[in-house]
Symmetry: C2
Subunit: 321 residues, 2 copies
């Protein structure tokens, strides 16, 4: 088994490559090529029963590929207080014909971050904004940065508005993103963020909604990224009730783990109201018009197929003998 | 993250240690100390749709332990034809307070084999046979050997009867086990196996039943070990119909993945007919009398808690700084 370090992995995968690999993985899902068991997760709570961490394992096998993957990703939200990054993890690549481990990608969560950003870029590209478009970002962490970079790659937009809870983190975000060539403003609240944005992406591990229907201006295209476990939520149920288009990366998983499920359980939207993001990318939903939609929401919880796509891209560059 | 090789792991865990660690893990499950998400599995079929391999991922966290584990185990049944062992895998040990990977146990499936054998030993010990007892083993692979060793450890019995499909494998099994001090005979069929046995353990990846009620002599104590995925089965439904006691390591998992579920779906036994093997080991089922039972069955599908138990035993012997 070849062990591949984060530095090596970073040098192997660019954002445009990640976006294209992830696009193909969603299309493969739509075409029935991918076997993805239900993800496994463990949640961690502190003594006051507050959610402080999660660990996900996601697996995928493609009928098209010689390898399958099991991806492990952790998020422990208080790690930064201890000087540790919040995310960690690895991807194990195994042979689909012998079950033997082929490679261990010690990505420390980086491939998960990249494939998540790539999915956001694909979701954003459904709404043409042009280079004058503006992106609202809720959150100031790693994914808040990567989403901006990935969405600039897919849409060309360069203007950011950011909403966070801590002034020092907002200042850090603005500073970092300006250095990457973005024009960035801080938003005073969710309403101000929406006012300035064509697309909003939410990237927090919040356990209560950060965006409500009362915050909206129309048209708006929302990408919900952070809520991927029961207990986490970012988009209030009334947003789903107000949406013309709801897309989910996986219907069952978004029902169980995503904001869509929260809205369904709140009675704000029918369980059948969502369309498959994979089918949309595969060109199988020509009736959907994101351009004309007043409010469109893409709820993303992350698929094993995305992990398999990026791991396969890494493995294709290894000399495995 | 410390990487621990199979040779190192083997030198750290003896069979008696494995049995005691696994016993405690079942008791911990009974006492509600263990968080075990539903396992993840991928099944592999050949072009004729025959099951040729499986991959399981099982996770567990204990309220008592600083680490949690994700165990990956593969079984690819045709590997021996290619000169490869059928089983492989690894155990990832992570911190429950930061999510950081602490150790990767490259056990190549050995810890899974050991904890599975240990569970068999604990199941066998419910039926006191004394050193004159005889064990019937269905299967001739690694687990068929480890079960005999583990059950000798827990019961003292030394006589084996073995049932296999291939003469060369049966001869190899008899030879190897005689060298380990067992008295071994080959059984012509399942009926002859039961005739010579107080306890029967089944250790195959069979997809059709290898043992039926018509094969039995009474009393008999059966341990079903091999069937741990939908599609695999060893114990015919009529065995469960004839049993005085049915124990399962996990009710839901045995319903979905084990022979117990096959029997329930066949209508041979009520879904509520099983008792918790964990509760039995924890002394919470004093009403059950295995000694007086004509037919008792323990259906084992394997718990993440067992993996956590052995991984914790290994990690406790590492110098992690």
């Amino acid at each position: 088994m070849q062990i591949v370090t984060l530095d090596q992995i970073r040098s192997m995968i660019s954002m445009p490559e990640a976006i294209e690999a992830v696009r193909q993985s969603f299309i493969d899902v739509s075409n029935g090529l991918i076997d993805q068991p239900e993800p496994m997760q463990i949640l961690f709570h502190d003594d006051a029963n507050e959610l402080v961490g999660d660990c996900h394992a996601k697996a995928a096998r493609s009928k098209d590929k010689p390898y399958f993957t099991i991806k492990i990703a952790t998020g422990f939200y208080r790690n930064p207080e201890r000087g540790l990054p919040p995310n960690d993890g690895m991807v194990l690549v195994l042979s689909s014909s012998t079950g033997r481990p082929v490679a261990l990608l010690q990505d420390e969560g980086w491939l998960t971050q990249m494939r998540t950003a790539a999915a956001g870029a694909l979701a954003a590209s459904l709404k043409a904004t042009g280079s004058n478009g503006s992106l609202g970002v809720v959150g100031t962490g790693t994914q808040a940065r990567l989403q901006a970079l990935a969405i600039r790659e897919s849409t060309g937009l360069n203007r950011l508005s950011v909403l966070g809870r801590h002034k020092n983190k907002i200042d850090g975000y603005i500073n970092d993103m300006e250095q990457l060539g973005f024009s960035v403003t801080g938003a005073a609240n969710a309403k101000a963020l929406c006012e300035h944005s064509d697309i909003v992406v939410t990237t927090t591990p919040s356990t209560s909604a950060v965006l409500h229907a009362a915050d909206l201006k129309y048209p708006l295209h929302i990408i919900g990224m952070g809520a991927d476990s029961p207990g986490k939520t970012e988009l209030a149920p009334d947003l789903f009730g107000a949406a013309d288009i709801i897309a989910t990366d996986n219907h069952a998983q978004c029902l169980q783990h995503g904001d869509f499920g929260v809205a369904v359980r709140a009675g704000s939207v029918e369980e059948t109201a969502d369309r498959s993001f994979c089918d949309i990318l595969a060109g199988k939903a020509p009736d959907l018009d994101f351009e004309d939609a007043r409010l469109s929401i893409v709820d993303l919880t992350g698929l094993g197929a995305q992990d398999l796509a990026l791991a396969s891209a890494v493995v294709s560059k290894l000399n495995l003998n």
